[in-house]
């Protein structure tokens, strides 16, 4: 009996291996293949998950040979998608740190093999964080179905839910944020009937009610102070309206907005007149890596919705004394976007403090619905901004964040289809130069097309996030809030 079983196993194994054909190219092309996702000549971290891809052509089989500089090699032959075994891929990349991989793609078309010119993938020595945390949500209007905040291990394809709104039906979850990419210090908002802010800090979890009589709303866009003691938030009175014309869908604007800072130790919010001015909208705060400055966006108040296209946010900076909890009187305008009829959103400084990347669009605050939105890099040492042409596309580029060492940036873009936001990673050089971005690898690249969700607010994390969802559920359903004060 055993003999029969072993023979069968051997036969199946032989059958499987025998499926790999020897590639004798009938034709060798001078051009490189057009891949989906486009991984040609990209720079990747050594711990990135396999860059599985397919070629944008009709074919019966795909054959890919990956050669490392040190002689290592990986060979796959598949029907449609070139899938690399995770372990072999990881080993090959580890050996190739600081070097290049050369990929030779051959396609079997109408019974004959066609070989494309090889292309390179550069394997950076700069490490990348453990993973990404993002929200998955349908790019809808007012209503939402299933959504959640998920973490993705960048070394493989595993994705785990941190919170899904199946736990508390009809709840919405957004604005997850970490202190210097550390999952031990995190916050996220729950919205809806049981809404509140989940704050995980020093191994303890609180469920906050951040609405105070002195503030416009509950806290919205967060950014942690590097010390871990403060979180800067905006408070916004937001409205959403819907366009009738074909190439626009949604407009989101604030009728009023301020910036406040939450003191975790004292459980109070505080601000200053410069961050709460009557004649301006202040939003999107972010602390500098040394914690001594607060960046934010500010626009002159307009009559809304009538003049929604006249709302132009400038990038500003105010000095902050974390010991005294005081702000300077002076506000510096770093990017006067309004002078050029443009608007800044999502300012994010690099961890070394040398640069700041922001999103620039024609007007307003909600750049994800603005096709013109692009990423810009401000050199904080010279004050000169430049458009990040090397990463931008004709479609929307919006939210972005940096790895702990600042060498990698993740950003959201709608370049694939104009609606469903996907994540792209790019290598950031010490001079602020960025490499050709690449789409977050998926086990099956077709996932990018089949998924009816957008990736939202990508943030790097150094280690897996652990959140006790039962505690979150209990606190939310029992409305056991820790009421935040204001001083």
């Amino acid at each position: 009996m055993n003999k029969i079983v072993y023979s069968l196993i051997a036969f199946v194994f032989w059958g499987l291996t025998a499926c790999q054909e020897e590639v004798i190219p009938a034709e060798t092309l001078k051009e490189q293949p057009v891949l989906f996702p486009d991984y040609v000549e990209v720079t990747v971290p050594a711990t990135i998950a396999p860059l599985n891809f397919q070629v944008q052509a009709e074919y019966e089989k795909i054959d890919v040979v990956v050669r490392a500089g040190n002689g290592g090699m990986l060979h796959v032959q598949e029907a449609k998608v070139a899938r690399f075994p995770e372990k072999d891929w990881a080993d090959l990349l580890e050996q190739s740190k600081g070097g290049n991989l050369e990929l030779t793609v051959s396609l079997k078309q109408k019974g004959r093999w066609v070989q494309y010119a090889p292309f390179q993938i550069q394997v950076s020595e700069a490490p990348i964080d453990y993973g990404l945390v993002y929200r998955l949500i349908a790019p809808g209007y007012e209503m939402y179905s299933k959504m959640g905040i998920y973490q993705r291990n960048l070394s493989d394809f595993s994705q785990d839910a941190i919170y899904e709104n199946t736990l508390i039906p009809s709840s919405c979850v957004n604005c997850h944020s970490f202190c210097k990419n550390n999952p031990q210090n995190m916050s996220l908002h729950l919205r809806g009937e049981y809404g509140g802010t989940v704050l995980k800090h020093g191994g303890k979890m609180d469920y906050l009610d951040t609405k105070t009589p002195q503030t416009l709303s509950s806290c919205v866009y967060p950014y942690w102070h590097p010390s871990g003691r403060y979180i800067a938030y905006s408070v916004n009175q937001t409205q959403q309206v819907f366009h009738a014309v074909r190439d626009k869908r949604i407009e989101v604007f604030d009728h009023a907005s301020d910036v406040v800072v939450y003191d975790i130790e004292r459980n109070v919010l505080f601000s200053c007149p410069q961050l709460k001015s009557e004649g301006a909208f202040e939003t999107f705060p972010s602390f500098s890596p040394d914690g001594k400055s607060l960046y934010f966006c500010s626009a002159v108040r307009q009559e809304l919705p009538k003049d929604y296209q006249q709302v132009h946010y400038n990038l500003c900076r105010i000095a902050f004394n974390p010991d005294q909890k005081t702000f300077s009187q002076q506000v510096d305008t770093l990017v006067l976007a309004s002078a050029e009829g443009k608007s800044v959103s999502f300012p994010r400084p690099t961890p070394d403090g040398n640069f700041l990347v922001y999103t620039l669009s024609d007007y307003g605050t909600f750049s994800i619905w603005h096709e013109d939105a692009d990423l810009y890099l401000l050199d904080l040492r010279t004050g000169i901004s430049r458009c990040l042409d090397e990463v931008n596309s004709p479609d929307v580029e919006s939210y972005h964040s940096f790895s702990s060492n600042g060498r990698w940036m993740v950003f959201s873009s709608r370049r694939l289809d104009g609606l469903y936001t996907r994540l792209y990673l790019t290598f950031v050089g010490p001079d602020g130069q960025m490499s050709k971005p690449f789409l977050l690898p998926q086990e099956d690249p077709e996932q990018n097309e089949m998924l009816l969700y957008s990736y939202n607010i990508p943030e790097f994390v150094e280690a897996p996030v652990s959140l006790d969802v039962n505690e979150v559920e209990k606190s939310a359903l029992s409305r056991k809030y820790k009421k935040v004060g204001y001083e």
């Binding site: 179905s145 309206v241 819907f242 366009h243 009738a244």
Partner: protein, 590 residues
């Protein structure tokens, strides 16, 4: 059991199945088709893994697979009838397995099927409520059919497996199997006690363990595994528990009665006939009582609208005037598409602008119907938004195949081919929309072929070229704005006029009326004549000098109407018979 008894039982089952089939096919067909729309079954491994990885996943997967065939009411009715019959037969076989069965109690085995048939009259009860118990009963019958106790390994794993495959229905198997083992008495009391406690622990505590392992569902949902109701957390658990108890209780009761009642003869015949009478009479009464024919009417109008069966909508209204705003809204669209709205809309019951352009509600059905109306007027973005919102409102978090198709269409009309392709590729993974998706994908690669689609091209022409923010409160402004950009958009014009008339806003009607010259009516439509005559009459003693070409018939009718209206304090009953189809009657009495 005598052969004749077998035949009678078989005939009873057949009759039951036939009645169920006829009910769903002829009396409730649009409820059947409705089910198909609120899900998106995909032939893809990721979809399968996603569904199967939840408790009750296999039952849900099978149910959604079968529900896609509900696109045809006949096929859906057949599947429903087949499953109801299958459940009844499994209850019968279960009862037989539990020791002794007398044909006289056969009618009792119909109880659970009749009960769920009644529940299915509510469009929010789902097919999984049949599939999951059938899986549990089927497994019990299979195990019992082997005629011996289960190997302990099976016994340990079975409740766990069933919980994952069929959710809460694992209790059916557990309780029936315990009863089966009890009457077989092959196990010692200790073994029996151990297995019983183990089974209870698995069914009760395993969901709790999942909860504490971080599964992101409320405890109640984990306990039920799969929801038989579209609103997973709404208070239907008691109904579902009664149903499940029935599924366990009926085989046990039937088996017990069969063992205990030994009498023969006429009395038993009377008992049997009585049961049949009560079950079929009572069941029929309850089912017809549970059936919601007003909803069936709305679903019918929606179905005709979706399939552009304008004449069928109008024929339906001729037979029985619709009364709900959504049905009226569908009828008005049908009248408009057939070029009859301006003449005949007041021939039917009108309930204000809600019956023309229903307000947006956070709901998964109403916005879908409203989306159709906006689509045909040329508000492509609004149609897209309403459809998307409807999909996002589905309470059991399903996607909607109809919406995905609509999103493909609206994006094609808007020239957003890349995202349209995404939706079409998804539809290629379905069974019934695959061909359409494949054909449409082929068309997209050739703009000339796209331009051959008359509907898309007309809507491209109609849609606004100048931007504005959608405002539900100002439909006249929006319709006027869209019509001003394309004065051939008859639908927009007639909706604009209809808004004014239904709001009883004659000044606006008179203001916008001249805009319709470009439509090229052969004569002024009847309801417009009625409004024009009335407005003229408000400021003039008679109709002399009226600057519109009014039919003599309208002139004589307005005189007669006016005479009755001004002569009687309570003129409404007198006017109803002859004038209920006029704008004047709507103006005064609606």
């Amino acid at each position: 059991m005598r052969i004749s008894e077998q035949k009678v039982m078989g005939a009873g089952t057949l009759l039951f199945g036939l009645l169920a089939f006829l009910f769903f096919w002829r009396l409730y067909p649009f409820h059947v088709c409705y089910q198909e729309q609120y899900q998106l079954f995909l032939f893809s491994s990721s979809y399968m893994i996603d569904v199967l990885s939840k408790p009750g996943g296999l039952a849900e997967y099978v149910s959604t697979f079968l529900t896609q065939f509900f696109i045809s009411s006949a096929a859906g009715a057949f599947i429903l009838a087949f499953l109801l019959v299958l459940m009844q037969r499994l209850v019968y076989v279960s009862a037989k397995s539990l020791g002794g069965f007398r044909a006289v109690f056969y009618p009792l085995t119909f109880l659970p099927s009749l009960f769920y048939w009644m529940l299915l009259c509510n469009e929010n009860y789902l097919l999984v409520g049949l599939v999951a118990p059938i899986m549990a009963l089927g497994l019990f019958c299979f195990c019992a059919g082997r005629g011996r106790s289960l190997w302990w390994g099976y016994w340990l794993l079975m409740p766990l497996g069933l919980y994952f495959f069929a959710g809460i229905s694992c209790w059916i198997w557990l309780l029936l199997w315990m009863a089966y083992e009890w009457q077989k008495r092959e196990w010692s009391r200790k073994v029996y006690g151990f297995y019983f406690v183990w089974g209870i622990l698995v069914c009760l505590l395993f969901p709790l363990a999942l909860k504490y392992a971080g599964w992101m569902y409320p405890w109640k949902l984990l306990f039920f595994g799969t929801s038989f109701f579209r609103f997973p957390l709404l208070g239907t658990s008691s109904v579902v528990l009664v149903y499940l108890l029935m599924l366990c209780g009926v085989p046990l009761l039937t088996a017990w009665l069969s063992r205990k009642v030994k009498k023969e003869g006429k009395l038993m015949l009377v008992v049997g006939v009585l049961q049949i009478g009560v079950l079929f009479g009572g069941g029929g009464f309850l089912i017809l009582h549970a059936a919601d024919f007003l909803k069936e009417e709305i679903m019918a109008y929606d179905y005709h609208t979706l399939h552009r069966q304008w004449k069928k909508s109008i024929e339906r209204a001729e037979q029985q005037a619709p009364s709900s705003p959504l049905s009226v809204a569908c009828l008005n669209l049908a009248l408009c598409k057939e070029g009859m709205m301006a003449d005949r809309m007041f021939h039917y019951y009108q309930n204000g602008t809600e019956g023309l352009l229903p307000s947006f509600t956070k709901d998964f059905t109403a916005p879908l119907i409203t989306s159709e109306i906006y689509y045909h007027i040329g508000f492509v973005n609004t149609a897209q938004r309403y459809a998307f919102e409807a999909m996002e409102c589905i309470p059991n978090l399903q996607k909607n195949v109809r919406v995905i198709k609509r999103l493909a269409e609206t994006n094609i009309i808007n020239g957003e081919y890349v995202v349209a392709r995404k939706y079409l590729h998804i539809l290629q993974r379905t069974f019934f929309y695959r061909d359409w998706a494949t054909e449409t994908l082929a068309i997209l690669s050739d703009e000339k072929k796209v331009e051959q689609n008359a509907e898309w091209m007309q809507l491209r022409k109609y849609r606004t070229k100048k931007d504005f923010f959608f405002s539900e409160q100002e439909p006249d402004m929006m319709l006027g704005f869209v019509f001003s950009q394309d004065s051939t958009n008859r639908i927009a014009y007639e909706y604009l006029m209809a808004v004014c008339l239904l709001r009883k806003d004659l000044p606006s009607f008179l203001k916008y009326y001249p805009m319709g010259k470009s439509i090229g009516y052969a004569r002024i439509p009847e309801s417009y004549q009625e409004a024009l005559v009335y407005a003229w009459g408000l400021q003039h003693k008679d109709m002399k000098g009226i600057p519109y070409q009014i039919d003599n018939q309208v002139l004589s009718r307005v005189n007669a109407y006016g005479q009755i209206y001004t002569s009687y304090a309570n003129a409404e009953p007198l006017l109803r018979k002859q004038y209920s189809g006029t704008y004047w009657y709507y103006l005064h009495f609606r």
